[in-house]
C-alpha cells in the first residue's frame, strides 16, 4: 500500500465526469479529497491523497491522463518550524486552502498538513522564515 498526494486539473467539459468514482470503483483506490475547486464552465482543481496498491495507483493515474486530466504529483511538502514561529498570522493571509489558520482561543497558528496544496505562498510570506519546503 502506498499514498500519493496529487493535484488534478481538468477543463470544463470533463468537470462533471465522476472521476473519483472510477478511481474508487475500478481501481480499488481510497481517495481523500483535500481541496476541491470545481465550478461549472471553468477549470476545476482537485487535490487528493490517493491510497492503494502501487500498480493500481499507476493504472488509476493512467486512466485520469486518458480522460484529459492534468496531473501533478506532490513530491515536496511544507515544513513548519514551530519553535521559531511567533504566531503573527501573516501566512494565514495568503493560504488558499485554510491549511493555515489561527486558533481563535489560543491565537496559535494551526497547520493542517492534509489541506496543504504546497503552493508555497506561506514560504514567501512568513516574515520570520519558519516555513520551508522539503526537497
Amino acid at each position: 500500500m502506498k499514498t500519493i498526494k496529487v493535484s488534478m486539473r481538468f477543463s470544463p467539459d470533463i468537470v462533471t465526469k465522476p472521476l473519483t468514482y472510477h478511481l474508487i470503483k475500478d481501481y480499488d483506490l481510497e481517495v481523500n479529497i483535500l481541496n476541491a475547486n470545481v465550478g461549472l464552465n471553468k477549470i476545476g482543481q482537485l487535490v487528493a491523497d490517493i491510497t492503494g496498491e502501487e500498480a493500481k495507483i499507476e493504472e488509476g493515474l493512467k486512466f485520469l491522463k486518458e480522460q484529459g486530466v492534468d496531473i501533478r504529483l506532490f513530491t515536496r511538502s511544507i515544513i513548519w518550524q514551530e519553535e521559531g514561529c511567533v504566531h503573527c498570522g501573516a501566512c494565514t493571509a495568503v493560504c488558499p486552502t485554510e491549511a493555515l489558520t489561527m486558533d481563535k482561543n489560543s491565537w496559535s497558528l494551526t497547520f493542517n498538513k492534509e489541506k496543504c496544496v504546497v503552493c508555497e505562498l506561506c514560504v514567501r510570506t512568513c516574515p520570520i522564515k519558519v516555513m520551508s519546503v522539503s526537497i
Binding site: V86, H87, C88, G89, T92, V94, T101, K104, P127
Partner: protein, 388 residues
C-alpha cells in the same frame, strides 16, 4: 476622587499584595463586580503588543581601539549603521538592508543577533585625525564586549492602526503583509483590547518616564513617538479610529530576549522588527479602570485600500476588532477573510509575564514625569521651493 496613588500601589507591589489583571481578564472582572467595586480592588492592569515596528533601532558604543578611530562610516555584518555621532557611537536602524545580502538580512537581524549574543562583524572607515589616526577597522563585536547598547525606538506601540485590503487586480506586497487581488483578504495589526494605548486613550497613565517591558527588559517611555497624532477621530468611548498616538521607547538591549524581539522580512517590502512591549496601567480611579475594560467590539478601525499609491487612501469600511478577530469581515456585501500581523499570542504572553513580575514584586510602576501631548497636528511633506 482618586483611590490610589502610584506610591500606594508600589507599596502593595513590594509587599506582594497587589491585585493585577491583564487587559483581557479585566473585562470579565468589571462585568462581574461593576466598575466601582473593581476599581477599589484592582491595582494594576497589564497591556501588551507584539508586532512589526519599523521605527526601531539601537545606539551602540563600541569602545576605543588602539590606535583609536573616529568612525565616520560604520557597517555591522555589512549593514550600514549611522556613524554621524561621536567617535565610536553608532545607531543601527531596523530597516537598513545589508549591502551584500539585500532584503534577506538587515538592521533588525543585527539587533536580534546582538541580543542572541552572537559575534557581529564591525567594519568602519574614517578620514583620520590627529587625535584619532586610524582610518579603518575590521573586527568583531558582541553584546558583552561593547559598552552601552540600548534600543531607542522613535515610533512604537501605535494606538490603533488601519486594516488593509487591495482592490486592484494584482497581488501587492506591503508593510501590511501580502494583499491578494480584488479584496480577497484583509490584514490588521494591533492586539485590540490588549494593546497599551487603546487601554489609555487619553494618556492619563502612560507618559514620559513610564516604566515598561521592552523586548524582555525593563525600559521606559522616552517621549511621544514620531507621528504621534492624538487629534485622530475618536469614538464616544474616546478610542481613536485609526492610527493615532505613538510612543518613543528606550531600554537596555543587553538585557533583552530574542523571544520578544525578532527580525522580520516582509516580502518585496523590506526588513522590520517585531517588538514586544508590555505596559502596566495603574488603576488610580474608576475612570482609568473603565478605559482598561474596553473590548474588541468597542474598538473600531477603517479598512483602507492599499493599492492606491497616494497618501490619501480611500477607506472602504469601518469594522470593529471583534469582527476582524472573528476571521472574516463583510466588505461590499462580500465575506472576506482577515489575518492578523501582530501576534496576539505573544502579546498575551507578555501581559501575563508583566502581571507575574508585578505580583512577585519584581516590577514597580514609575510615575510619568511629563504628559504626552493630547492635541496636535501631523504635518505632511510637500514638495516646494526653498525660501532663499
Amino acid at each position: 476622587m482618586g483611590y490610589k496613588s502610584i506610591d500606594e500601589i508600589n507599596e502593595k507591589i513590594k509587599s506582594g499584595k497587589a491585585v493585577v489583571f491583564t487587559a483581557e481578564e479585566i473585562i470579565d472582572v468589571v462585568a462581574e463586580k461593576g466598575i466601582k467595586q473593581a476599581a477599589k480592588e484592582v491595582d494594576v492592569v497589564t497591556t501588551a503588543t507584539f508586532g512589526p515596528m519599523c521605527s526601531s533601532g539601537a545606539f551602540l558604543n563600541f569602545g576605543h581601539s588602539d590606535p583609536p578611530i573616529r568612525m565616520c562610516k560604520v557597517w555591522l555584518n555589512d549593514v550600514p549603521a549611522y556613524g554621524g555621532v561621536a567617535a565610536v557611537d553608532a545607531y543601527i536602524g531596523a530597516t537598513e538592508l545589508s549591502e551584500t545580502r539585500g532584503m534577506e538580512y538587515g538592521g533588525a537581524h543585527v539587533i536580534e543577533d546582538l541580543i542572541a549574543g552572537k559575534d557581529i562583524r564591525l567594519y568602519a572607515e574614517s578620514y583620520g585625525t590627529d587625535c584619532y589616526p586610524r582610518k579603518e577597522i575590521d573586527t568583531y563585536i558582541n553584546k558583552t564586549n561593547i559598552n552601552q547598547a540600548f534600543m531607542f525606538n522613535p515610533r512604537n506601540c501605535y494606538q490603533n492602526y488601519i486594516a488593509a485590503t487591495n482592490t486592484s487586480d494584482r497581488t501587492i506586497y506591503t508593510y501590511m503583509g501580502t494583499l491578494l487581488p480584488k479584496c480577497s483578504n484583509v490584514t490588521y495589526t494591533t492586539s485590540g483590547q490588549l494593546s497599551p494605548l487603546l487601554n489609555d486613550p487619553y494618556y492619563r497613565a502612560i507618559g514620559v518616564g513610564t516604566r515598561i517591558f521592552l523586548g524582555g527588559a525593563q525600559g521606559y517611555v522616552a517621549w511621544e513617538g514620531t507621528q504621534h497624532n492624538p487629534g485622530q477621530v475618536r469614538g464616544e468611548n474616546g478610542v481613536p479610529i485609526g492610527a493615532s498616538g505613538t510612543l518613543a521607547v528606550i531600554g537596555d538591549l543587553k538585557k533583552m530576549d530574542t523571544r520578544f524581539i525578532r527580525a522580520a522580512v516582509f516580502p518585496k517590502y523590506g526588513v522590520t522588527l517585531f517588538v514586544g512591549i508590555g505596559i502596566p496601567i495603574p488603576v488610580f480611579d474608576e475612570e482609568m479602570l473603565m478605559y482598561t475594560a474596553v473590548k474588541d467590539s468597542e474598538i473600531f478601525t477603517n479598512i483602507m485600500d492599499e493599492s492606491v499609491p497616494s497618501r490619501a487612501r480611500p477607506a472602504l469600511g469601518r469594522v470593529s476588532y471583534a469582527e476582524l478577530k472573528s476571521g472574516f469581515v463583510m466588505l461590499n456585501g462580500k465575506k472576506v477573510p482577515t489575518a492578523p500581523l501582530s501576534s496576539i499570542k505573544k502579546a498575551r504572553e507578555i501581559a501575563e509575564l508583566v502581571k507575574m513580575q508585578i505580583m512577585k514584586g519584581e516590577f514597580l510602576l514609575a510615575q510619568a514625569v511629563a504628559e504626552l501631548p493630547r492635541e496636535n497636528k501631523v504635518n505632511t511633506l510637500d514638495i516646494r521651493e526653498g525660501d532663499n
